[in-house]
């Protein structure tokens, strides 16, 4: 039998860039194919070609053995190909029914929308695949996991046979991830076929039938979870051996560097985002803050870096009260911050590398003499840090916007780690980075800890928290539910806390 989907020799050249280089790919009916590759390997370009957003320069697409041309997403949908993007395309103030119908509306006589018929169809789909989505709910009231299911319903509503899921687990809690994979199983049992794009090895091993690995625009190989293991996959993906399990010595905690007591912080809507939070971070240890995105971690980090003033409680840095200190005062006391959104907060993308490397030290000697910038030493600093932190950039004058995400993050790490620091606040330090860069950042964090730096690590990646932290605090709805020694807890237990379930 022909595979349901076959790509042959897909090539896509962007100006000066070969994003896809003769890629062959087959998807059989009723299977989950994992498309594994680092960020920038060409996965998303390939899927955008399949979905009609890009036109390939070369290559052919076959559906059920028949060659087809796809010029637009509507062509793709007509061929039964549907895609769930990493960022959902939903209108928050519309109901599920309205969102699902959007672009393919059911109409009654006289041009009126037939919501009832559409809702019935959604209920039917929801029941068939056990999605548990209420057609009358508003998107803004739904948790992210359910929003994702609405996106899947959108595809099923349009009779998609081939579903492409782009990094579907990036926004989910561990429980939601398991539920998603249950849904994916049920979909393939009903004869659908799924391509699922990811760079997370564990998910690939657990949930896929076959794995195709892409590196630098080419297919490196296709394997199955039975034949492969995580180390082998990582090596295929990156092109060299990767150390997945970080070796670290037991922590030797010293004095308390950061002390937070009864902290209360409001978010931008003036709602309480951090509610009565207390913790200590000691020199030489990593305190990991676990939690699903949006449970107050962002505001907590902003408060302990001076970006947001708390409305209650107290923050002390080596005993000194810094509750209302400015970011500059935090920096000058020896605190470093890797911000959650590196492009928004941590970097000036229209500045060259050299300027980004002195973004918060530009006024100090040797980078300034009086008020005059000392360019030779700014250049020298950049040359040195590029070498020392292995930042891949054509030159010190290259604009930050043209570096890869991993190298942008290295610029921040280089800038923050090259100062003598006593506290490091790292928020989502590896979000969106490839395996190689993640490995690099993790090693650097451990290194800092071993040098006697206190590290506050905030991450929504549970694996990252488990791997790096000496102690783990779980945040849920603005509160810290529990603080535990990392050795005494399992991932499943933390997962339950993250969902707000406190074991009796």
């Amino acid at each position: 039998m022909d595979p349901i989907l076959e790509l042959r020799g897909i090539t896509k050249q962007f100006p000066g860039v070969l994003a896809n280089d003769h890629i062959d790919l087959t998807l059989n009916q009723g299977e989950i194919l994992a498309l594994l590759g680092e960020n920038g390997a060409g996965k998303t370009t390939l899927m955008n070609i399949l979905y009609g957003l890009y036109k390939p320069d070369e290559g052919e697409i076959f559906v059920r053995g028949k060659k087809i041309d796809i010029h637009s997403p509507s062509d793709a949908i007509a061929q039964g190909i549907g895609m769930v993007h990493q960022h959902f395309m939903l209108v928050p103030v519309f109901t599920v029914t309205d969102n699902v119908m959007l672009g393919d509306e059911y109409v009654r006589g006289g041009g009126f929308l037939d919501r009832r018929r559409a809702a019935a169809r959604i209920r039917e789909i929801s029941r068939q695949y056990n999605l548990q989505v209420d057609p009358d709910a508003y998107i803004k009231d739904l948790p992210v996991g359910l929003q994702q299911r609405v996106e899947i319903i959108k595809l099923l509503f349009r009779d998609a046979e081939i579903l492409i899921l782009d990094e579907p687990t990036a926004v989910l809690t561990p429980q939601e991830v398991n539920e998603l994979f249950a849904i994916m199983k049920s979909l393939v049992e009903h004869g659908k076929s799924i391509i699922f794009i990811t760079h997370k090895l564990r998910e690939v091993m657990e949930f896929s039938n076959r794995i195709t690995v892409i590196r630098a625009g080419r297919v490196v190989g296709t394997t199955t979870p039975q034949e492969a293991d995580q180390n082998k996959l990582a090596a295929m993906m990156v092109g060299r051996q990767i150390e997945l399990q970080i070796e670290k010595k037991p922590a030797e905690p010293g004095e308390v560097v950061l002390q937070v007591r009864n902290l209360k912080v409001l978010d931008t809507r003036n709602l309480i985002a951090v509610d009565d939070v207390s913790f200590d971070v000691r020199a030489g240890e990593i305190l990991g803050i676990a939690g699903v995105q949006g449970n107050g971690q962002t505001e907590l980090v902003r408060a302990v870096t001076g970006l947001l003033h708390p409305v209650g409680g107290e923050i002390r840095f080596l005993g000194k009260k810094v509750t209302h200190a400015t970011p500059k005062e935090f920096f000058e006391l020896g605190s470093a911050h890797i911000p959650e959104d590196r492009q928004k907060d941590g970097l000036v993308l229209t500045y060259p590398v050299k300027d980004n490397l002195v973004l918060n030290t530009y006024y100090q000697p040797p980078f300034a003499r009086g008020v005059i910038l000392n360019q030779p030493s700014i250049y020298a600093n950049a040359e040195e840090l590029i070498r020392k932190f292995d930042i891949r950039t054509p030159s010190v004058m290259t604009m930050l916007s043209s570096l890869s995400g991993g190298n942008q993050q290295k610029v921040i790490v280089a800038r923050e780690f090259s100062r003598p620091i006593k506290l490091l606040v790292a928020s989502q330090p590896t979000r969106g980075l490839d395996v190689g860069s993640i490995e690099y950042i993790h090693h650097r964090l451990i290194e800092k800890r071993d040098e006697g730096c206190a590290v506050l690590l905030v991450s929504t990646e549970l694996d990252e928290i488990m791997e790096l932290s000496d102690r783990i605090a779980v945040m849920y709805r603005g509160r810290i539910l529990v603080t535990i020694d990392a050795k005494e807890v399992t991932k499943e237990q933390i997962g339950l806390y993250m969902a707000g379930i406190v074991p009796a």
Partner: protein, 418 residues
């Protein structure tokens, strides 16, 4: 991201010439230059279209019509050129004769263009400085008025000072007047979050009416029937360098010096680094411990001060008094200049020279070729429309998209938190 890795590889294999052409066609300056070229070309088309003879000739034959049209466009630009730079032949003859007054006369179109460009430089710098810090100072016009008022006050009522002190003092007081006018919206933004676009526009109206009030009141020359100020003291004049009627004055060099100072401030000092960072990414500036609110207030004051200098320069160097008719439009043109000059001091100077030549040339053009001066406004407007919509220029000339994101004007909404 995926483009970068492959791009680096791809580049090496290309030939140097290809790489060079690639760089040139991607350069953001290219758009500005082509915008000027296109604007001038379309100006010629409009000059032809508005010439009646073209239609008369078209009735007889198409070729004849086109010929007349080309002739009309040629005449327009010839007159514009002669008006802006002077007649090359006449300049050569004058230089050969060695007669100073003849040289002075032959070169006076050129020097008059520079006189026109001078306030443009000051005001263009004012707006450009704001842009660099993410602030949209629409109030240059009002700041020019207040600068002129303050300078005239200093020039009329301070008496008995030697010129070496009086003139710089009057200029400085003019700058201070403008600075206060810029500081107010800056301070309002910092304290209340009020948007500077709204408040600078409102401050313009206050400045206009204030000048009318003062010119019909305390500043009015009692000897005159029209509301006009008394002539300023000779000692406060910015000196002219050539005999009458040549109006070229030292203010042009002061303007160039200010451009140099702004350049130093923005690109060579820690203050400038802070200001530019606030403009490029206020979030990152906050993260890096910079004081955004202070940067914005200071910038608005500096920007207002530069605009104030434009006004002071005009009254002290050119008019030597202030009348209600003192309406320059420099303040609004200066927004255009800053955009045309990519908010860079050197770019602003070049753009100001261009506008100075166009403005002065147009006056001559109107006199000799009978083409209405308004065509210059149309040309200026088209140049700006093309700069504001680079996609048009990129499509016409098949330019590639820039590698770096174009530095777009961003109106910051920070402030008001303290």
């Amino acid at each position: 991201m995926e483009k970068q890795n492959a791009k680096a590889k791809g580049r090496i294999s290309q030939k140097p010439l290809v790489v060079f052409l690639d760089e040139v066609t991607r350069s953001p300056m290219m758009v500005n230059i082509l915008a000027i070229v296109t604007g001038l070309f379309l100006g010629g088309v409009i000059a032809a279209l508005t010439t009646e003879n073209v239609y008369v000739a078209l009735k007889s034959s198409l070729v004849e019509g086109l010929k007349i049209a080309l002739q009309a466009a040629w005449n327009t630009y010839k007159a514009l050129f002669l008006g802006a730079f002077g007649d090359p032949q006449r300049i050569v003859t004058a230089l050969q004769s060695g007669d100073w007054s003849q040289i002075n006369r032959a070169l006076s179109p050129l020097s008059e263009s520079l006189v026109q460009a001078t306030p443009y430089i000051f005001a263009g710098l004012a707006v450009a400085l704001g842009f660099r810090v993410g602030l949209f100072n629409i109030g240059a016009e009002g700041q020019i008025f207040v600068g002129a008022l303050a300078a005239v006050w200093a020039g009329v009522f301070i008496k008995g000072l030697p010129p070496i002190i009086h003139a710089p003092l009057a200029l400085l007081i003019g700058g201070l007047g403008g600075a206060i006018w810029g500081l107010i919206p800056g301070w309002l933004k910092a304290k209340t979050g009020a948007h500077e676009v709204i408040n600078t526009i409102m401050m313009n109206y206050i400045a206009f009416r204030l000048s009318e009030y003062l010119l019909t009141g305390v500043l009015r020359d009692p000897a005159k029937t029209t509301p006009i100020s008394a002539p300023i003291e000779r000692s406060a004049w910015i000196p002219r360098l050539f005999p009458y009627p040549n109006r070229f004055h030292v203010g042009f060099f002061i303007a160039l010096f200010m451009a140099f100072l702004v350049y130093l401030l923005l690109f060579k000092t820690t203050w400038g680094f802070e200001l530019r960072t606030v403009g490029a990414n206020p979030n990152a500036a906050r993260y890096a411990g910079m004081n955004i609110v202070r940067s914005m207030v200071i910038t608005m004051a500096l920007s207002g001060g530069l605009a104030g200098l434009a006004g002071a320069n005009e009254v002290l160097g050119v008019n030597r008094n202030l009348g209600v008719a003192f309406s320059s439009g420099y303040g609004f043109d200066s927004i255009a200049l800053a955009l045309l000059g990519n908010s860079h001091p050197l770019g602003v100077v070049l753009a100001s020279l261009l506008f100075g030549f166009l403005r002065n040339g147009a006056i001559q053009m109107q006199l000799t070729a009978g083409i209405p001066i308004d065509i210059i406004s149309i040309i200026q407007a088209m140049i700006l429309a093309f700069i504001a919509a680079p996609a048009i220029i990129r499509t016409i000339y098949r330019l590639k998209t820039p590698k770096e994101p174009e530095i777009r004007l961003q109106i910051s909404s920070a402030g008001g938190s303290s």
